[in-house]
C-alpha cells in the first residue's frame, strides 16, 4: 500500500518571524523526498510540526487521507511517523538497549529479538549493553534509526542526518535509506547540502524564509539551479587562484606529541609539518581522530615543548593563546558558541575578549568601551555581519553571522597565520561562500592558513597542500592538485 502524507496550508508564526508561511506539500511512499533550504528557512520547523514537537498555528496534516492531530511527539509515533533529529535524542549515560526500550511497550526479550533482527537485516552492528556515550556519531544515529524502525513506521523523517557523519558513514546511511524506501517507507530528507540531494533523492522541495519556493524532480535539476533557488539569487562560484609558490617558511612543527589523560581524547603522535607564507595547509580526517587536540596544541590551549613549534623564527611551543596572538597568530575554534564566543555576552564584549596589548581596549584596568565599540563596528561592516546592534548578545546571532564575527575579530589585526577548525560547519550556502572567499583573500595577501576540516570539498577547494590525520598521526603532506576526494577518503579510513 502506498503511504500518502499531505501537509496543507501550514503556518507557524514566532514573534518577529514567520517560520512557516502557508506551506502545502504532498509526499508518496516509494520516493525519497528532499526538503532543502538554508538555515532558518523553516524546514526544521516544518518537520518538527510533522513529528508533533511543535504545534502549528494553522493548517492540517493528513496521512492516507486521515486528518492527524499531532499535539505531542507520542502522537506522531502513534501515527507511524518516525523522526531522527539533527541533535540526537539519546540518553548518553543509559545503555543502548535502555535507550531503545524506554518508549517501547514490548517485553525485554521480545524487543531484544526484534532489535537483533533489524540489525541483521540492515547490517548494523552495535553493542546493545554499552552506554551510548561510548558510541561514534554514526552509531548513535543508527540507534536513532533502530528506535524508529522498531515501530515499523510509514514515514521516516531525517533532519540533517549527515552533519555529524563521515563520508563512509554517509554512504552507508544512503544505502540504508534507499533500502527503507524500497520497502515502502516514505522518506523525507532534510538538508542544506546540495550534493546529497542530487545523490539520494527523487524529488526536492525548496524552502526559503518560511515559504515553499519550488517542488521539482531531481532529474530536472542540477546543483547550480538548486543553489540559486535556495539562496534566491545567483551565486557566483568561487575558485582559488593557483598560489605562487613561496619558500618563505612561517610555521614549523617538529616532533610534536601529546598524550592525554582523558580516555576520550586522542593522543597526537610525532606531528611534523611546515607552512609557508601565503599557503593554506588543509588537514582532513574523520572527526575524533585528533583534530581538536591538534587545534588545541597549535592554539596554545595545550602547551607543548618550546622547540616543537617554531613560528616566524621564534620558538613558541610553551606560550598560551594570548601570548601566541601577540606573535600574530589567530584562531577560529570549532565550537562557535562554546570556545570562540561567550553566548551570553554582547557582541562588542566578545570582540574585547580578543585583547591585544596594542589594541588599547583597556586603560589602567578599566574598559575602554568607546574604543571597543568602534572596533566592533568596523568588524561588522568589514566582514558583512548582518546586524547593526553591537549590544546584541552573541547567542542571538545566526551561525553564519557569528562565524563571520569571529573570523573578522581574528583577521582585523591582520595576523600572519589563521588556524581554523571546521569554519563552515552547519552554515548555509551564502555564509559558507563568504567565509571561503575571505579565506582565499587572506592567502592572496600572503598570509597563511591552517585549515582543519572534516569537509573534504572545502579542503580541496581552499588548500594548497593537504594532509590527513588518522588516530593522531598525520599522513605525508600532498599537493592539493594531486589529491582527489577518493584518495582522501582512503587515507581518512587509515590506509596508506
Amino acid at each position: 500500500m502506498i503511504t500518502n502524507l499531505k501537509i496543507s496550508n501550514v503556518t507557524k508564526i514566532y514573534p518577529g518571524c514567520v517560520a512557516n508561511d502557508n506551506v502545502s506539500l504532498e509526499f508518496n511512499s516509494g520516493k525519497i523526498y528532499a526538503l532543502l533550504g538554508e538555515n532558518g528557512a523553516g524546514k526544521s520547523t516544518l518537520v518538527k510540526i510533522l513529528s508533533g514537537v511543535i504545534i502549528p498555528d494553522e493548517g492540517e496534516i493528513y496521512l492516507n487521507k486521515n486528518n492527524l492531530k499531532l499535539n505531542s511527539p507520542s502522537d506522531a509515533k502513534k501515527n507511524d511517523i518516525g523522526m531522527v533529529f539533527q541533535h540526537f535524542n539519546l540518553f548518553e549515560t543509559l545503555s543502548v538497549f535502555e535507550n531503545l526500550i524506554i518508549d517501547s511497550d514490548e517485553q525485554r526479550e521480545s524487543l531484544r529479538e526484534k532489535i537483533d533482527s533489524i540489525m541483521k537485516k540492515y547490517n548494523f552492528s552495535i553493542d546493545l549493553d554499552i552506554p551510548v556515550l561510548n558510541l561514534s556519531a554514526g552509531q548513535k544515529q543508527k540507534v536513532e534509526i533502530i528506535r524508529c524502525l522498531i515501530r515499523s513506521p510509514k514515514v521516516l523523517i531525517m533532519d540533517e542526518p549527515t552533519s555529524v557523519l563521515t563520508e563512509q558513514e554517509t554512504s552507508e546511511l544512503f544505502l540504508s535509506l534507499k533500502k527503507f524506501s524500497e520497502e515502502g517507507i516514505l522518506i523525507i530528507y532534510i538538508t542544506h547540502k546540495l550534493k546529497e540531494v542530487m545523490q539520494l533523492c527523487d524529488e526536492v522541495a525548496v524552502m526559503r524564509r518560511g515559504k515553499l519556493v519550488s517542488v521539482s524532480e531531481i532529474k530536472n535539476e542540477n546543483i547550480e539551479s538548486l543553489a540559486n533557488k535556495m539562496v534566491g539569487q545567483n551565486l557566483k562560484t568561487i575558485k582559488k587562484k593557483k598560489a605562487k609558490t613561496s619558500s618563505d617558511q612561517l610555521i614549523k612543527i617538529t616532533n610534536l606529541s601529546f598524550t592525554s589523560e582523558d580516555p576520550f581524547e586522542t593522543n597526537l603522535m610525532d606531528i611534523n609539518f611546515s607552512v609557508n607564507r601565503g599557503e593554506c595547509l588543509g588537514i582532513a580526517g574523520i572527526s575524533g581522530n585528533g583534530q581538536s587536540e591538534l587545534f588545541q596544541v597549535l592554539s596554545g590551549e595545550i602547551i607543548s615543548e618550546k622547540n616543537s613549534i617554531e613560528f616566524n623564527k621564534n620558538y613558541i611551543g610553551d606560550l598560551n593563546p594570548q601570548e601566541r596572538r601577540e606573535y600574530l597568530m589567530a584562531f577560529s575554534p570549532e565550537d562557535r558558541l562554546e570556545q570562540a564566543a561567550i553566548p551570553q555576552m554582547k557582541i562588542f564584549e566578545n570582540v574585547a575578549l580578543n585583547n591585544f596589548k596594542s589594541s588599547n581596549f583597556f586603560n589602567k584596568g578599566l574598559i575602554n568601551e568607546n574604543k571597543i565599540k568602534e572596533h566592533s563596528k568596523k568588524i561588522i561592516s568589514d566582514f558583512n555581519v548582518n546586524t547593526d546592534n553591537i549590544d546584541l548578545k552573541s547567542q542571538f546571532l545566526s551561525g553564519g553571522n557569528l562565524q563571520k564575527l569571529i573570523i573578522g575579530r581574528e583577521l582585523i589585526t591582520s595576523p600572519d597565520l589563521l588556524i581554523c577548525f571546521n569554519p563552515t560547519w552547519g552554515l548555509d550556502v551564502g555564509a559558507i561562500n563568504y567565509i571561503h572567499e575571505t579565506l582565499i583573500k587572506i592567502n592572496e595577501q600572503n598570509k597563511s592558513i591552517i585549515l582543519i576540516s572534516t569537509d573534504t570539498d572545502e579542503l580541496l577547494k581552499l588548500s594548497d597542500k593537504i594532509s590527513v590525520i588518522h588516530k593522531g598521526k598525520l599522513s605525508k603532506i600532498m599537493n592539493a592538485d594531486e589529491v582527489t576526494s577518493e584518495k582522501l577518503g582512503i587515507l581518512m579510513g587509515g590506509a596508506n
Binding site: 511527539p73 535524542n89 548518553e92 518508549d103
Partner: protein
C-alpha cells in the same frame, strides 16, 4: 577488659538506628536528583516531618496517622518546591535553600506548644528474639517497622532504578530532559513525582527522629542530618547501595562520638561533626579524577531548569 559480645551488637544496632533517618532522606533525595532536580531543602522537609509527626501523634494519639501525616507534610512542603522550580522555573539551589530556612522557621513556630511533652512508645518488632542469637540478636531484632523499611529501601531503590520501566524513565529525564520530552515523556510530571517522593521520604526521616529515635520535640532537632543526607547522595555517586554504606559510616561517627566522650578520649566534637562533610569532599576529589565515571554516574541535567520550547 572483657567486652561483652552483646554489647558490641548493641553498639552496631545503635549505629544502624542513627543511620535510619540518613538512609530514608538520602534515598528520597537520590530519586529526586536522578530526575535532574537538586533539592537542597532536605533539612527543611525533615524538620517539618519531625514536628508534624510529633504533633499528630500527640493530638490524635494514632501512630499510623502520625507517620503518614509526617510523610504527607513532607509531600506538601516539597510541592511548594516543585511548583516553584518546575512550573515557575526558579533556580533549584536558591529555592531549596529557602525551603530549608522556611522549614526550620515554621517547625519552630508550630513546635512551641509541643516542647517538653513526652513522646509515646513506638512498637518494636521481634523483640523476643533479641537474646536468642549472640551478637546478631540485638542487630537483627527489636526494632521499629521504619527501621526495617529503611534498610530495605536502598535495595528497593536500586531495583526500581535498574529494573523497572518507570525507573528507567526517571534516569532518562535526569540524563537529558530535552530528549525525554522529544520522546513523548512528560518531563515536568516525572520531576514533580520525584520531588514529591523525596519530600515523603524526608518527612518520614523526620518523623523517625521525633517519634522513634528520640521521642520528643526539640527545636531544630534534625541538627544538620538533612545536609548530611544530601552529602551522602553525592558520596554514594548516586548509587543507593552505597548510601547504605555511607549512612553506616556517617551514623557510626555520631555514635562513636558519644562513646569516645564517655571513655574520655579528647577529640573536639566539632571535628567529628565536620567529618561527614570532609569525607564527602575527599570522595568527590577521588571520583572526579575519573572523568568517565563521573559522567556515567552523575545525572547530567542535575540542577538545570528545563524549559519546553513551543
Amino acid at each position: 577488659m572483657i567486652i561483652d559480645i552483646n554489647f558490641i551488637g548493641l553498639i552496631i544496632a545503635s549505629i544502624m538506628a542513627s543511620a535510619v533517618p540518613l538512609i530514608l532522606a538520602s534515598c528520597g533525595e537520590l530519586i529526586t536528583e536522578r530526575s535532574g532536580v537538586l533539592n537542597l531543602g532536605v533539612e527543611g522537609m525533615m524538620i517539618i516531618g519531625a514536628i508534624s509527626g510529633f504533633a499528630l501523634m500527640t493530638v490524635t494519639g494514632s501512630l499510623i496517622i502520625a507517620i503518614f501525616g509526617a510523610m504527607l507534610a513532607g509531600v506538601l512542603i516539597s510541592t511548594i518546591f516543585a511548583f516553584l522550580t518546575q512550573t515557575l522555573i526558579t533556580n533549584h539551589v536558591a529555592t531549596g535553600l529557602a525551603l530549608t530556612i522556611f522549614g526550620i522557621g515554621i517547625s519552630a513556630m508550630i513546635g512551641k506548644n509541643f516542647v517538653g511533652i513526652p513522646g509515646k512508645e513506638f512498637p518494636v518488632l521481634f523483640d523476643g528474639f533479641k537474646d536468642t542469637i549472640p551478637l546478631l540478636g540485638p542487630i537483627l531484632f527489636g526494632h521499629s517497622i521504619v527501621f526495617y523499611f529503611a534498610f530495605a529501601l536502598p535495595f528497593i531503590t536500586s531495583y526500581f532504578l535498574k529494573k523497572t520501566k518507570i525507573g528507567l524513565i526517571v534516569r532518562a529525564v535526569g540524563d537529558s530532559p530535552e530528549s525525554a520530552s522529544n520522546q513523548g515523556i512528560n518531563v515536568r510530571l516525572v520531576r514533580y513525582a520525584c520531588i514529591l517522593y523525596g519530600g515523603a521520604m524526608s518527612g518520614l526521616a523526620g518523623a523517625y527522629l521525633s517519634m522513634i529515635y528520640t521521642p520528643q520535640w526539640i527545636e531544630n532537632m534534625t541538627g544538620g542530618r538533612g545536609w548530611i543526607a544530601l552529602a551522602l547522595v553525592v558520596f554514594s555517586t548516586w548509587n543507593p547501595i552505597k548510601i547504605l554504606i555511607g549512612a553506616m559510616i556517617f551514623g557510626g561517627l555520631t555514635i562513636i562520638q558519644f562513646h569516645m566522650q564517655a571513655i574520655g578520649v579528647r577529640i573536639p566534637v566539632q571535628f567529628l561533626t565536620a567529618l561527614p562533610y570532609i569525607v564527602t569532599i575527599i570522595v568527590l576529589v577521588v571520583i572526579s579524577r575519573d572523568s568517565r565515571k563521573i559522567r556515567l554516574s552523575t545525572p547530567s541535567s542535575l540542577g538545570k531548569s528545563f524549559y519546553k520550547d513551543n
